[in-house]
């Protein structure tokens, strides 16, 4: 597993682990030696250590005293991967739900003007696009999933907002009388989660909220900002 893919899996784990509260990362995303360890044997009796649980509340591993953080993280990820073989989520989500592409910054490639920080390469451009779209794509996943939204009535956002139609993120902030204050996009998202979706409101830095906002902004690409519009 490469550094990047661990990052992906950790992010994915955070998203799909149904963790509602903001939390620190399950383990430092330190570069790991490729963890080829198969399912670990039960610790020898008498081994001192601690049981470490991933934020999904289900995946656990035993960390013997003195083992490095990277080993623990790797073990947890292996275990999690075993249970969740759905590695191909991006391609599948792309196929299911069209996502507006992020801005294409190709025009910036190769122009240096003798400035090192301004030096843009093709890899940079590709990386920006991939990562940006990945967050928006995970937002699409949450958007279309009543379970991930925490709905108690099996309602997901796409039931009223296919492709995030009629969400108008470009019109926020706007004064929403019923909320008694000027609402940001996330306030309206939370209102929808509490009422039509009948779930629990997300905190502002909940990965799902960040992903949802990213998806909504993505789908309204090109619209004029007009805060306060009704």
């Amino acid at each position: 597993m490469t550094k990047a893919s661990i990052h992906v899996w950790l992010t994915l784990g955070a998203l799909l682990g149904a963790c509602a509260a903001p939390r620190e990362a399950p383990a430092p995303a330190a570069p790991a030696e490729p963890s080829a360890a198969p399912k670990e044997a039960a610790p020898a009796p008498g081994t001192k250590g601690v049981e470490v649980t991933l934020c999904d509340g289900k995946t656990t591993t035993f960390a013997a005293e003195g083992s490095s953080g990277a080993t623990v993280a790797g073990a947890l990820m292996s275990e999690w991967l075993r249970k969740n073989p759905n590695v191909n989520w991006e391609a599948e989500e792309h196929e299911r739900h069209k996502l507006e592409p992020a801005a294409d910054n190709k025009a910036l490639i190769g122009m240096t003007n003798g400035q090192t920080y301004g030096q843009i390469s093709a890899q940079d451009v590709a990386l920006w696009k991939a990562e940006t779209e990945r967050l928006a794509l995970s937002g699409s996943e949450v958007f279309h999933s009543a379970d991930q939204l925490g709905s108690t009535v099996a309602v997901s956002c796409d039931m009223c907002h296919p492709h995030a139609a009629n969400t108008h993120p470009e019109t926020y902030p706007k004064y929403q009388v019923q909320l008694g204050r000027v609402a940001l996009l996330r306030d309206m998202i939370n209102w929808c989660i509490e009422h039509p979706v009948r779930g629990t409101a997300l905190s502002a830095d909940d990965p799902r909220m960040r992903a949802l906002e990213a998806y909504l902004y993505a789908q309204r690409k090109g619209k004029v900002l007009e805060y306060g519009k009704r």
Partner: protein, 380 residues
């Protein structure tokens, strides 16, 4: 009011209320039936002249039966309830309550409609419990029910439960000189076998309006062949009304507001002097005319869809953008008035809004007459 005193001079607005109320109540009690009908017909006529249709729940007794040149047709009305998307009772209460509200609305119609069309998507995930629940609720309708299937009913078990409950999804019948055809217009090319999807995965794919994995809706070769021979039996002068879940024209592919073989189906309808399509699936006020065919969408009881970003027919005067703070806004049921000439007025009974009627003369005049009211909150 405990006493009715004669006013002394210039009465206040409340006084005038009470006076007029008393006067009419007294007058109404003394009207004979003919005068009563005249009163209501006149009132309805005045309102109709202003371009407003009287609310359908309180439509006076049918005005005299007009005769068509053929001497066979009479006007009549049928109601519709559509797109209820039921979940099990323990899971979601809103959708069930909304369907019950629609049943109550239709049962309150006086006089009762000739029949009630159910426009498809009775269940949300095609599960037997959902379909049975829907069937049980619809049994409370006083008028006879004609069922039509939607994709949410079909793709869990490919129609097995639907057939058991409601019979064949494709059929035709005649009523008061009008030929009715009911299609299963949500046929999709197999996308699930190659992907090894389970039935529920297949159902969930189809259940997502914006899910691009599914195929476009179609009527399909088999049904078109059946349709051709069914229509061959009737003359071109016979009014024709087609019930379809998908719109039978191409509006917006990403949301399956679409029928892949629409042109071929329309070709089969082309010869008819009066052909109307009543369709579900779109959960909004939708109007279209293509050649001789008039198309009208039905409201959903469960939730409204936004208008498609492109492909909206020019004929469609949008309904007001629904307000999320009212869970019923943009939803409802409705009715179709069939005129003696075979053309229809389409009434949208939007909950908590004034009803909207799209008259046959609007489409017949290519949108020049009787235009419905423009929204003050269009989609954007």
């Amino acid at each position: 009011m405990s006493s009715r005193k004669k006013p002394l001079g210039f009465p206040s607005i409340e006084t005038k209320h009470m006076q007029e109320r008393d006067a009419l109540f007294f007058a109404l009690q003394n009207l004979d039936r003919r005068a009563f009908l005249k009163l209501s017909a006149a009132a309805a006529g005045v309102v109709a002249a202003k371009g407003l249709m009287p609310p359908h729940s309180f439509q006076p007794v049918t005005v005299a039966h007009a005769q068509s040149p053929a001497g066979k047709l009479e006007s009549f009305r049928f109601a519709y309830i559509s797109d209820s998307h039921l979940y099990d009772r323990t899971l979601n209460d809103r959708f069930i309550n909304a369907l019950m509200r629609a049943v109550d609305d239709v049962n309150a119609l006086d006089p009762q409609p000739d029949f009630v069309l159910f426009g498809g998507d009775l269940a949300q995930l095609g599960q037997p419990k959902e379909l049975e629940l829907g069937a049980q609720i619809l049994k409370n309708l006083k008028a006879p029910v004609r069922m039509m299937v939607g994709e949410h009913d079909w793709y869990l078990d490919m129609g097995e439960k639907w057939r058991a409950l409601f019979g064949a999804p494709t059929y035709s019948f005649d009523h008061k000189g009008v030929h009715f055809v009911v299609l299963n217009s949500v046929v999709e090319k197999d996308f699930w076998t190659a992907r090894k999807l389970t039935p529920m995965e297949r159902m969930r794919t189809v259940a997502g309006l914006d899910n691009g994995v599914q195929s476009p809706f179609s009527v399909g070769d088999e049904q078109r062949a059946w349709l051709a021979q069914d229509l061959a039996k009737i003359s071109a002068a016979t009014p024709l009304i087609v019930f379809s879940h998908s719109p039978l024209y191409k509006l917006y592919r990403p949301w399956n507001f679409w029928t892949e073989d629409a042109e071929q189906v329309q070709a089969l309808l082309k010869k008819f002097q009066r052909a109307t399509v009543i369709h579900g699936h779109t959960h909004q006020l939708l109007t279209q005319r293509l050649g001789n065919i008039h198309f009208h969408g039905m409201l959903s009881t469960a939730w409204p869809w936004p208008y498609a970003p492109e492909g909206l027919p020019n004929y469609t005067i949008q309904m007001n953008r629904p307000d999320p703070f009212n869970p019923n806004d943009g939803c409802g049921n409705g009715a179709v008035f069939v005129h003696p000439d075979g053309l229809v007025d389409k009434l949208y009974n939007l909950w908590n809004r004034n009803p909207v009627t799209v008259k046959s003369t609007y489409l017949a005049s290519s949108g020049k007459r009787d235009k419905p009211l423009a929204p003050n909150l269009p989609s954007y």
